[in-house]
Symmetry: C2
Subunit: 202 residues, 2 copies
DNA sequence: CGGCGTTTTGAGAGAGCTCAACATCGGTGG
DNA sequence: CCACCGATGTTGAGCTCTCTCAAAACGCCG
């Protein structure tokens, strides 16, 4: 995930220009049609991007959590094309468009780093989408474990809670618990706290 | 989708440098560890990106179809980090790295267009991922229809076959047929060939 | 200790998948 | 022109898996 975060490449000049803003749950960060201001990053809480359809129903495009950037494409357009609403109390950081684009012009390396980050995000998202094509929970978990095995190819350190993982995998937490229990029972994996070890059939 | 394709922004100079290559099903386009050559686009057929895990099993990262680009991140790295294998007989087009990166250096606008395209792809992928979080087939189809309604907000032209759509939605084609039939029966939509019209409750 | 969130297990229902049969359509070749 | 074929579209029936609802054990922190 680190490679898909802006925190690694953002030039110091841009970083210094970052401005934080607090939002209360339900408050709009921006509205469709509004003038774009820059690159946004969620610091705390969650912000959802939505569109409102003809019949007035809200259609969710994405829910961004801490660390994630928001509406990157708006950097290259003058108006927002969806609404951003705080789902919880939240803090977002704004890097003004002027500074960001100027950094890209001055320093082709920075522009390239930005492109590289976006390209990695595309890869990562496509992989997660591929994962969702896997029907059976067991296979989906196996896919995740295989992809997230450390350098030794056998152990995985879970970053957050199992509930979070369940959400990322598109399973209920109960389904994930059961699946992990089954895998451990069958001897395919071993668990110690938030660490999982694959017992590869040699 | 058009906005997420390279066909719209790729400078003529780069486009002229494109080289096509034919692959037979099962043939490798590149292998993990190999030197990266440039930006790849699938013209015909399908190419899958995979990694091989410890136990020798193949883990699929992505399957790219006609029009899609492949391993964009490899533009910014010297080695591939996965394998690309033709799943069917296929034709891929290679835009040499030299030409592409040179175009980005010479013309900041081109670099920006590339970033913009990637940013739109990220948005689009996140939206599709959001869609997969929707459990019920009916709601998933509604979400798709709401997001893909034309300018009038009421009609949708299906690009491909319903089978393709089913795959994109993560449903079996049977489930999609049934869901559409149900929606049409209930009067929520109308179908004429590959065109669907929403009958919004006024 | 008493709450709160995570982890865990149980039982039941419902949704979609699987398998299967058939209709439809477009193209191909006799 | 018609028979044939493959792919798409459509509907039926049963089954399996996951979701949902529920309850309880566990750990953490005030």
């Amino acid at each position: 995930m680190a490679a898909t975060s802006i925190d690694n490449w953002l030039p110091a000049t841009v970083r210094a220009a970052g401005v934080d803003r607090e939002l209360t749950a339900g408050e709009a960060l921006f509205r469709s049609g509004g003038r774009t201001e820059g690159l946004l990053q969620v610091i705390r809480g969650r912000v959802r991007l939505t569109r409102v359809d003809r019949s007035g129903r809200e259609v969710v495009l994405h829910v961004a959590g801490p660390g994630e950037t928001l509406a990157e494409a708006s950097l290259f357009s003058t108006q927002y094309h969806c609404d951003a609403i705080a789902s919880t109390n939240a803090v977002v950081r704004l890097y003004p468009k002027r500074e960001v684009l100027a950094a890209f012009e001055d320093d082709p390396k920075a522009a390239q780093a930005f492109s590289a980050m976006l390209a990695r995000q595309v890869m990562s998202l496509r992989t997660r989408l591929e994962q969702r094509n896997i029907r059976l929970a067991v296979d989906r978990v196996r896919h995740f474990l295989a992809l997230n095995a450390g350098a030794d190819g056998r152990s995985i350190n879970l970053p957050g809670t199992l509930k979070d993982l369940a959400a990322e995998l598109g399973l209920t937490h109960e389904a994930l618990y059961r699946t992990l229990a089954k895998l451990e029972h069958s001897g395919e994996i071993k668990r110690r706290g938030s660490k999982i070890t694959l017992a590869h059939c040699v």
